[in-house]
Structures are given as C-alpha cells and as structure tokens.
Symmetry: C2
Subunit: 372 residues, 2 copies
DNA sequence: GTGAAAGCGCTAACAC
DNA sequence: GTGTTAGCGCTTTCAC
C-alpha cells in the first residue's frame, strides 16, 4: 500500500554489500551474534538510512508467528473493557506484541467467526473474555494447542490459565455491607448462569445470605439473560412483578445495576430511599451517576496485564503440554457510594406508592435534594 | 498455531485431483468462472470437507492486500468511540473487511508507531480519528497514496475524505438554547485548538455569541489542553480563578463538560442552579449523570459507517489520483436534559456560596418533567 | 562469519 | 478450462 516502493531486506543487503541472509541475521537481535560486529553495524546503519521496515507478513509466512494476540471481547461498548484492554496492551507492547481486538456483540455465531478469523491470521495466542461455561469451541482450540487465556469468565472443567476478580469475596462484601446497614431482604439480579461469573456470583450470594442470616427466599433471585442494562432491568422487573419484597438488590455487574435503576424508577421506587443497589466491577463514570453506584471495585487494568503475562507463559510452553493452570483471582474491595442506605424504617417492604394513584411527579420533586 | 497441521490449498487440490492453481480459482468467487462448474463444485466440496481455511498471510504476501483496515483512535476509554467503532465495523464486515483498532492514548509518538505498525502489516487503508490540524505524518501517508479517511477531526488543507458532526450547527444550537433560557454571559471551555474540531467549535461559539448579542468577553473562553475530563476541569478552573463571571458554559465535548462538573463542584457552584453546562457528542450514559447532561447529539454509529464507506471509495481509486474530497458533515441536534436551566434571577453572577442565601431547590422543581 | 538455496502458502501470468 | 512456473519478502538450514 505504501507507494514509494517499500524497501526490502534485499535492498538493504545490496546497499551494505552483503547477502540478504547476512542482513537478516544482523537485523535480528537474536541472531546478531552470528555476524561480525562490523557487518552488523554496517547493515544496521544502511537499514536505518534506507528506512527499512521489515515486512511482518513475509516474516509471519516464514515463521508462522505474528507477534500478535487476539483479544476477544463480548462488548466493547461496556465501559468495563477499555481499561482491561489498556492493561493488556501495557503488558503486550513492551514485548513487541500487538493486540487485535474483536467485539463479538455477545453473539456466539459472531464469536466463532471472529475467532476463526484471528486464528487464520495466525495470532500467536488468544485472550478471551467471552467464555461460557459450556464452550466447545474454546475447548477445541485448547485441545488444538492454541495458547489461550481466559479473562473474567471461565469454561467448566477446562484447564486453561485465567484471571478474574474474586467473585465470592466481592459478593460477600456487597451483601455484608447491606446487612450491616440493616437490610434483611436482599434480592439478587444475577448474571447469566451460562457464564462462570454469573454462576459464581449467584452461588456466593447464596452463601452470604445464609451466613448472615438474611432471608433466603428463592423469590428474591432473578437471572438476567445478558450482561446488559436492558437485561438487568428486565430481571428486576420480573422480581418486582412477582411481588418480591426487598429493600436492597445486589446486581452481578454494574450494567445490570443500571438496569435496576431503570426498573426501580419505572415503579416509582427510589434508590437508595426505597431500595439500595450494589453493582460489581466499578466501571468508569459510576461516581457521576445519580445516585453514584456502590459497587465492588475490580482492578481492571491489573487483570488485563496479568492476563497478558499468563499468555506469554502459555505461548512459551510446548503446545502439546501446557502447564496446568489454576485460576488467578484478583482481590476486590467494596466502594460505598450513594446507592446504598439503611432500609426505610417506617415499613419493612417498599412497594409502588400512592395506593393506586399514578406515582411519578410526586416523587421527582423529592429528587431536588438527592441523598448525597 | 493450530496444531492439527493446517490444511493447505495444496491438500485440497490433491484431494480434488486438480492443480493448486485450479483449486485457487475455484475457491475465489472472483475467478470461479474460469473453472468448469463441475470442478468448482468438487473443489468447494473437498475444501469444506477438509475444513480448509485459506491462509490470509500467504495471500497478503502475494497480493499486497490484507482486507484489513486500520482504525486509529485517540482514546478507547472515551465512551464516544465504541459506538463509532460499531458503525465502522457494521459497514466493513459485510464487505469482508476487518478493522484493526489501535489506541494512541492521545500520544503523537505512540500514534506514529501504531500507524507505522499498521502500514507494515499492510492494512488496505486507514480510518483516523486522531488528526491534528498540523499533521505531517498523515500528510505524508496521503502523499504516499495510502487510502485515508478522517473521522471527527481534519488536517488543515489536506484534501482527504472526512466525516464529522456539524460543529457549527451544534454549537449554535447549544448557545441558542442557553440564550433562550436567558443567559447573557456564556463561557466556552473549548477543545485543543490543535484539532480542527476544537478550532471549529471555538469559532462557531464566537459567531453564535455575536449573532445572539451575548457577552463577547474573551475572558469567557478557555481552551482545554486535551479532550479529557481533567483538562476540562483545569480549563474551567482557570476561567473561574480569573474571575470570569458566567451563568453557563458550553463545553466542546462531553468529557470536557464532565470536567466542568468537577470544577464547579470544587467551587461549591451547582449545576444548573448556579451554572448551566452543555456538552457535545451525546456519548453513552449521559442521561444517567447527576445532573443529566444537556448536549449535542451526534449519530456516532452513522458517522462510523459513513467513514468506512468513504474508505471503500478511496481504496477503489487509483492511488496516484484520489478523487477530490469535500468533508461530509453530519447533522446534529440538541438534547436538553437537566444541566441547563434559566440563570439565577436574584443575581447576575454566580459565586461560591456560603455568602448566605442557598438557592437551588427552587430551580429544580421545574425539571420535574425533563424534556427528554 | 558469510553465502547458497529452499520454502512458508498462495496467486497470477503465461502456456497449452 | 487447466496446468506450469514464478515469486511475494523473509528466515533458516546447510555448506564452506
């Protein structure tokens, strides 16, 4: 594509008066020792002067390596991911690797095509944030020896390196916080059980509720079909429609929590006045929301960087004998903001107010002085 | 990287009992006609059976085309961009193209390296969202015949296709809205004048202020050094420190506007009670903020898709004679939310309170039914 | 320490 | 309509 006839290794070799093979050796730091210091210097200088840029395509064809890793994301518009990407790139780039980002839009069909495309382009490894608990494709890739690291979510029984936040601890902290505020009936808007993260957070919720002696009512749980605001709203709506009386809800992600905001607002329920909400991830901009969301902080960039490092390990391993991998869990911490408060004392259960009359404006006025 | 010895064109040809060249012709829709229908069918079937995936690296080496375009973004953590990326991909993918996203972190040095890397990898074209008005590198790329489309920002005097929101109209609408609310002293937190977008919006602000007969005080303008929240906050801080008395501020982007929120909050000034704020872009999540930001809506995905289509045109042109390109402007519309209100009537100029009278609630009540 | 030669997987002239 | 040949730009044995 570059017009001015790209300068090739051959041009450098000619100008330096050596064979292309020698020039190649001189240019490659790893093989530079095979060449006399003098030749090396000369070749390097000529290459510099000519503005030689090695052609990665040709190199890849020969070496079957691309110095590129595929980064498979479920949804680039989810603000959680950009910081993860930054973390990944910060670890990749010093090593001369580049990330190729694909966005599956949470669509398994798209995902398959994207991953195939990455593999065809001979990425050296894959960092995957779209894993489902049952994921034959990833399983097959791993069996094929493709270096693979999972981020956030894992595949059931697949022994592949992974890095994720400590779901159990995060949920325990969230529920603990609500319990400490005096909440007894805490609901869960869980993530899809098809994802390990969804399942783990739901499981952790069960444990926390039990340990703290809160209401263990199954009617207090709903599962969102996707990790999106819309799905979060739909899930909480179902809960409320079924008459679930709760004074707080733990959402398995921030986006789900935002959906909860919407569902509560539709019902004329205020947060945290009527219902407290806790999210998970601490994605950007949360502190600016109304109300600012209490959530579980996850070190997004650190997780990304760790994933990249694990991938380097995996790429260094013999493909037929990858080292066994225990999931690496990142510590998390609760960030208390404004979406959580003690339950209303005047009545145990919030319900749509105005025993019939349309709610709405009456409530809005009281927003004038938000709870901050 | 795929373990089970990748099946090559040669394997398909052998299995189908034809020469590799014939198999190649059969597999490529563009050359399929050169081959007997029968052979084509057979080759296709065998390829399918064997799970043949053409090796794009080898193909690229031969053809010097990659079916890949580079996408150069200043900041992937800016929520404005993911929707643009979606738009671009939605236009690229049906044509069999893939986007390679790079994030320059607003760093020209990084940008140069990233673009070089993309070019080395033989992307077929570039969609660039990081242009500066003075941009020798982009100018050189264009001179070299690299197909190029600019998004949002342009390069002074560089005749390259570009697509951007209608800055002038957006700013006019923003200022017009504030004027209609009764504001007389409207400040500008402009974007970097090194970017065409920054310059255009600042220019438009001047025109709007003049046309509407508002205060044209130079002390009412500050320029942010970057398109970030921090730079927006710093700019407004400078304005306020210098004693600029304004009742509203137009920020040249949403992120700058969020910075303004911060600077106002630091001074104990309320938005919109004391100072109204308008942003630009209508990036995601704005309606959830406190206060929900009034802003200029930009069709992000549409802009992205248009950019991709322009790039197809540019790639189709002879590289030495690209068609002349007029910038394509996308219509924008003001979205009024909660960050704008009439100026306080009790005094012309807001100042840090504690002086006494706490205003506030009185204004909020009228928001009960926000206009969105 | 350097050169010669082969070849990664594919496509595109050019024959026949 | 199909086969032959050459070669994209590089790396890597293997000689010397």
């Amino acid at each position: 594509m570059l017009r001015p006839r790209q300068v090739r290794l051959r041009d450098v070799a000619d100008a330096a008066g050596v064979h292309p093979a020698t020039a190649s050796r001189a240019l490659n730091p790893a093989t530079r020792a095979q060449v006399s210091a003098d030749t090396a210097r000369r070749v390097l200088r000529v290459a510099e002067d000519l503005g030689y840029r090695p052609n990665p395509i040709a190199r890849s064809l020969k070496t079957a390596r691309s110095h590129t890793v595929g980064l498979v994301l479920p949804d680039l518009t989810n603000p959680y991911f950009p910081p993860v990407v930054r973390g990944i790139e910060s670890a990749l780039e010093p090593a001369g690797y580049h990330a190729w980002i694909v966005d599956t839009h949470n669509d398994p069909v798209r995902e398959r095509a994207q991953i195939d495309s990455l593999c065809a382009r001979r990425v050296d490894g894959l960092i995957v944030a779209t894993a489902r608990r049952d994921h034959p494709h990833l399983r097959a890739l791993h069996a094929d020896g493709v270096p693979l690291v999972l981020v956030n979510r894992r595949v059931d029984g697949l022994d592949v390196p992974s890095v994720a936040p400590d779901d159990a601890s995060g949920i325990a902290q969230a529920v603990g916080h609500l319990a400490a505020l005096g909440h007894l009936r805490v609901a869960l808007v869980g993530g899809p059980a098809t994802t390990s993260t969804g399942a783990a957070r739901t499981r952790a919720f069960g444990h926390a509720v039990r340990d703290l002696g809160l209401a263990a009512d199954p009617a207090l749980r709903a599962e969102a079909s996707q990790w999106t605001e819309a799905a979060g709203a739909a899930a909480l709506r179902r809960l409320l429609d079924a008459g679930a009386a709760c004074t707080a809800v733990v959402a398995a992600s921030d986006l789900l929590a935002l959906g909860c905001y919407d569902a509560l607002a539709e019902r004329g329920l205020r947060c945290p006045g009527d219902v407290s909400v806790v999210g998970f991830n601490d994605m950007p901009f949360l502190s600016r929301l109304r109300p600012a969301l209490t959530t579980v902080r996850v070190a997004q960039a650190a997780i990304g960087a760790a994933a990249a490092r694990l991938l380097f390990d995996a790429m260094a391993d013999p493909p037929d004998a990858p080292r066994p991998a225990r999931p690496s869990l990142f510590p998390v911490s609760l960030v208390v903001r404004e979406s959580t408060a003690p339950p209303r004392r005047d009545r145990g259960l919030p319900r749509p107010r105005a025993g019939g009359a349309a709610p709405g404006t009456a409530f809005r006025t009281s927003w004038a002085a938000p709870s901050d």
